[in-house]
């Protein structure tokens, strides 16, 4: 094969290593993703890129040759795919199961390739790999043309904001380098690409196996006038450079305070440039100041640019901490607490609308609730379908709300301030990725109205400390009975109370809700909000709900000031509750007449650190009520 110019570095290494090093210090970095299944020759292509850029050592090559003969799929030839497979289990199965990152370099650039597999976990893995990529190589088998998966890959790359798409029509050697085959595929793809909003792509005929149009233009495709793949990779514009032209944004990661004389704000510049003297605004507070210094270990910078990790000092003593965003004073991002976003679900456990998740965006972590999706997107057909929830690898559009304002930009404008992850509050798993479209107007226009009579004033007028006594336990555990006694005892002491009962609330406020997991979550969210309003009014609220999920009980706890949420676990073993069966519900559930019954075919998650635990097999309802009242008044 011909040796293109970018591969003539070897001579320089031997002759003048200092000149070589100097040249290589000035390389830029491109991150890209390759999309395609094993059959498209993706691993072979990556193996070929590593091989051709001399990233393979002799011992690896010897192992590769031996492996190729033993388990390879290319007969006696080298099977490049074997270079890039990974974990032992997949080696045996011949599939890759995750995102792997590969590295190679030419004279002009260093490359990081995200390699993602092609089976059912595809969406999750591809979205992960695409999130950091500037360019995508979409592989198509010349013999098969544009397939469903080609469309899926292209859609996901476009969704994640990749602006440079290379359509690599592979295995041209197997169709005799026929231009008509290539043109047919190019045209078919063009129609589809336009329909999903891809305005520009670069088609290229290649053979990863034979090396055509990889590093040099191939003599086998004289009709192809474009550049070889490596040339495209070496010259495509970088997102990092484009980010510099955007308005200045620095999400603050860490406040640097070595001593009383220095207070710096450390972070990676997400967009724009910054110089001493620049006017900045701190979000979400909106306070303004001027940049004093752009500090680094290597000395102060005259100018910091997008992509650099720096520490800023400001001319004024202004409040600023982790999660705040320092931005160009004249062009700051917005803050809002309700958004529309595309959400990619990545967990085995489906999304529960209304449940609280952690949302991390930039350096901000807040609590967020996702509403029922407006629609789900079929990644194979691009059709929108109705959905009540999102399952693993599903993509949907939904509104979400956060417990405090989030400084953000549309994902289109900024990956750093528009891309977020959702984290399950109990398993701590990353369950979803999201991309913000825009904030909802109602969030901008609905403001908190400050009232002159504060909640403290209302509580003082009632001469009591508001609280929520949150009873939880199985159906028939004795929640309502004990809660009723507690309220009576408090009333006798002239306390102002209100009892919210599960069954009663379902007759009115929550009459539209059923007993699916999603409805149970929404039921508790509403009750939590009502309880919160009542504590604002000064009341002692007693609630009696099964409230089976820890996450929702925790959500209500978070809504209230520290110490006002008192969890009362009415601990009655299932067998005992079933034996009592006051309402005859267990019998119905056992006979299948009643679905989604807690303890039978719907889970109950007992509290781990309840303030009060009542063992009803040892305490009478009256004794239990006394204990709870004592706890409340002792606070």
């Amino acid at each position: 094969m011909a040796n293109p110019s970018s591969y003539e570095a070897d001579a320089l290494i031997a002759e003048d290593i200092d000149a070589y090093l100097d040249r290589h210090q000035h390389k830029s970095l491109l991150r890209f993703i390759t999309c395609g299944s094993v059959d498209d020759g993706k691993s072979t292509l990556i193996g070929r890129l590593l091989y051709d850029s001399k990233m393979i050592f002799e011992d690896q090559l010897a192992a590769l040759e031996a492996d190729s003969k033993r388990v390879g799929t290319q007969g006696q030839n080298i099977d490049f795919a074997l270079l890039v497979d990974g974990l032992a289990a997949e080696r045996e199965q011949g599939i890759t199961i995750d995102v792997a990152y590969r590295f190679f370099a030419t004279d002009r650039r260093k490359f990081i390739v995200a390699d993602t597999p092609g089976h059912e976990q595809y969406t999750r893995n591809m979205v992960t790999g695409a999130s950091t990529a500037d360019l995508a190589v979409i592989l198509v088998d010349a013999r098969k043309g544009v397939l469903t998966q080609t469309r899926r890959h292209s859609y996901l790359c476009h969704l994640l904001g990749i602006r440079n798409i290379v359509l690599a029509v592979n295995k041209m050697d197997l169709v005799d380098y026929d231009q008509q085959v290539f043109d047919r595929i190019r045209l078919a793809y063009s129609g589809f690409a336009q329909s999903i909003g891809i305005t520009n792509f670069t088609p290229i005929p290649i053979s990863g196996f034979a090396g055509d149009n990889i590093t040099a233009k191939s003599a086998n495709t004289p009709w192809y006038r474009g550049e070889p793949l490596m040339e495209i990779l070496e010259t495509v514009p970088l997102d990092a450079d484009a980010d510099r032209a955007k308005p200045f944004r620095l999400p603050v990661q860490w406040v640097n305070r070595p001593n009383l004389d220095f207070r710096g704000f450390s972070g990676l510049i997400a967009g724009g440039t910054v110089k001493p003297g620049d006017a900045v605004r701190i979000l979400p507070s909106g306070k303004t100041s001027t940049v004093a210094r752009v500090v680094t270990f290597d000395g102060d910078l005259e100018e910091g640019v997008a992509g650099q990790s720096v520490t800023l000092t400001l001319a004024d003593e202004v409040d600023c901490s982790r999660g705040d965003v320092i931005a160009a004073a004249g062009d700051p991002p917005q803050a809002a607490d309700q958004f529309e976003a595309t959400i990619v679900w990545m967990a085995d456990e489906e999304m529960l609308p209304g449940r609280s998740y952690w949302l991390k965006l930039g350096t901000q972590t807040v609590t967020a609730n996702v509403q029922q999706p407006k629609y789900q997107i079929n990644v194979n057909t691009m059709e929108h379908t109705a959905a009540k929830t999102l399952e693993l690898n599903a993509i949907g559009v939904a509104n979400l709300s956060t417990d405090r304002p989030l400084v953000f930009e549309a994902y289109e404008a900024s990956r750093d301030l528009g891309g977020f992850i959702l984290i399950d509050k109990f398993t701590n798993a990353t369950v979803a990725a999201g991309m913000i479209h825009f904030s909802l107007r109602r969030a901008q226009n609905v403001h908190w109205q400050a009232t002159d009579i504060t909640r403290e004033a209302r509580a003082a007028a009632m001469r009591q400390k508001p609280a929520v006594l949150w009873f939880t336990g199985l159906s028939g555990a004795g929640k309502s009975t004990i809660a009723n006694l507690v309220e009576k005892k408090l009333a006798r002491m002239n306390r102002h109370t209100f009892l919210l009962d599960g069954d009663n609330v379902r007759h009115g406020l929550n009459r539209d809700l059923g007993f699916t997991d999603a409805d149970r979550v929404e039921n508790i969210r509403r009750v939590g909000e009502v309880a919160k309003l009542m504590t604002d009014a000064g009341l002692i609220v007693v609630t009696a709900f099964i409230s089976p999920f820890r996450a929702e009980r925790e959500m209500v706890r978070q809504m209230l000031p520290e110490g006002e949420f008192i969890e009362v676990f009415v601990d009655t073993p299932l067998a005992e509750a079933e034996k009592r069966d006051v309402k005859g519900l267990y019998a119905k559930a056992r006979s299948g007449q009643l679905k989604n019954f807690t303890g039978i075919d719907s889970p109950y998650e007992p509290p781990e650190d309840a303030e009060i635990r009542i063992d009803t097999t040892r305490l009478s309802p009256d004794e239990a009520a006394d204990r709870i009242v004592d706890y409340l008044l002792d606070r």
């Binding site: 031997a14 290593i17 970095l29 050592f57 590295f103 370099a105």
Partner: protein, 300 residues
């Protein structure tokens, strides 16, 4: 507009970002310091990330007592210069049983390194540990996350790792669980060398060629670093001009014959050489995918 950031500037910015995220989001981080070139780069990046403060965590060396003498010399000085506390941990059981690389084979690594690391992390209650592993080192590492979660008993579950998107790292964890964080995941061996050259970072002199007393055994050139080295009958140390591409326990680390006495010469040799970095380490040759097994057991 000025030129694009170079690949090293971007890698540096990414590593600094990771270091800061961990300090902001975990309670008690520590940096595992093995005194090799990757550790040297990681320590340098930590100094940059928190400047003008010193890095707000200690260095931890999980010692096997069998490192090269030159490594111990640099270790203490490097910590002092960075203004960081240095913790040295040696597994007391391994010490008592006299576990050594001559008699105990892979048990040596298991007890001193794998067990020693777990014991040290438990002893001090660290919930995040920075390590200098890179994805280009070995095939199974290509898929390793930057934030790698370990259960309360330090096991790594390859099926249960969190997706990492954009620059977002999820550092949430339950009590007792910990994270291993690899800030230089995306650096290659050449990047490391170039950065050391560019930033003038001090590394152990063993990386440069010098005449050293050596013996050849099972295809490896081993250095006789002290009198604990057990010579076989008839074996006589021979002075060879050698250097090391990777540093570990001296009786387990193979040298290469070399005349490269400067950093550019070392890089030149590396680029012209035809064998990969890990070949000098005995640990990889045990069995196919051995690194992966070690990782599941808690070794880095």
């Amino acid at each position: 507009m000025t030129a694009s950031l170079t690949h090293l500037q971007r890698l540096e910015a990414e590593s600094i970002h990771i270091l800061r995220e961990v300090v902001a989001e975990t309670e008690k981080p520590v940096m595992l310091y093995s005194i090799g070139k990757d550790s040297a780069v990681m320590l340098h990046l930590a100094r940059k990330a928190f400047y003008p403060s010193p890095p707000p965590f200690p260095l931890l060396h999980v010692d096997t007592t069998w490192k090269f003498r030159a490594m111990y010399e640099l270790r203490d000085r490097a910590a002092r210069e960075a203004g960081m506390e240095l913790l040295v941990y040696q597994n007391p059981e391994a010490k008592e049983r006299g576990i050594n690389p001559f008699d105990h084979g892979s048990l040596h690594t298991d007890m001193w390194k794998t067990e020693g690391l777990k014991q040290a992390l438990d002893l001090y209650g660290f919930d995040a540990a920075f390590g200098g592993a890179r994805r280009d080192e070995e095939k199974s590492r290509a898929k390793e996350r930057i934030f790698s979660f370990r259960s309360a008993n330090h096991r790594w579950d390859p099926k249960n790792q969190r997706p990492e998107l954009w620059r977002l790292y999820n550092a949430k964890k339950a009590k007792g669980e910990s994270i291993r964080v690899f800030p230089i995941s995306n650096w290659t061996e050449l990047d490391i060398w170039q950065y050391i050259h560019l930033e003038n970072i001090e590394i152990v002199p063993l990386y440069f060629a010098a005449p050293r007393p050596t013996v050849e055994r099972d295809g490896l050139i081993l250095m006789v670093d002290d009198d604990r080295f057990r010579l076989k009958p008839g074996e006589v140390p021979v002075e060879r001009s050698v250097r090391f591409r990777t540093l570990g326990c001296y009786p387990l680390t193979g040298a290469v014959e070399s005349e490269a006495t400067t950093l550019p010469q070392v890089i030149q040799e590396m680029l012209l050489t035809t064998t990969s970095e890990r070949q000098g380490r005995a640990i990889d040759h045990d069995q196919a995918a051995s690194m992966e097994k070690k990782k599941q057991e808690g070794y880095f």
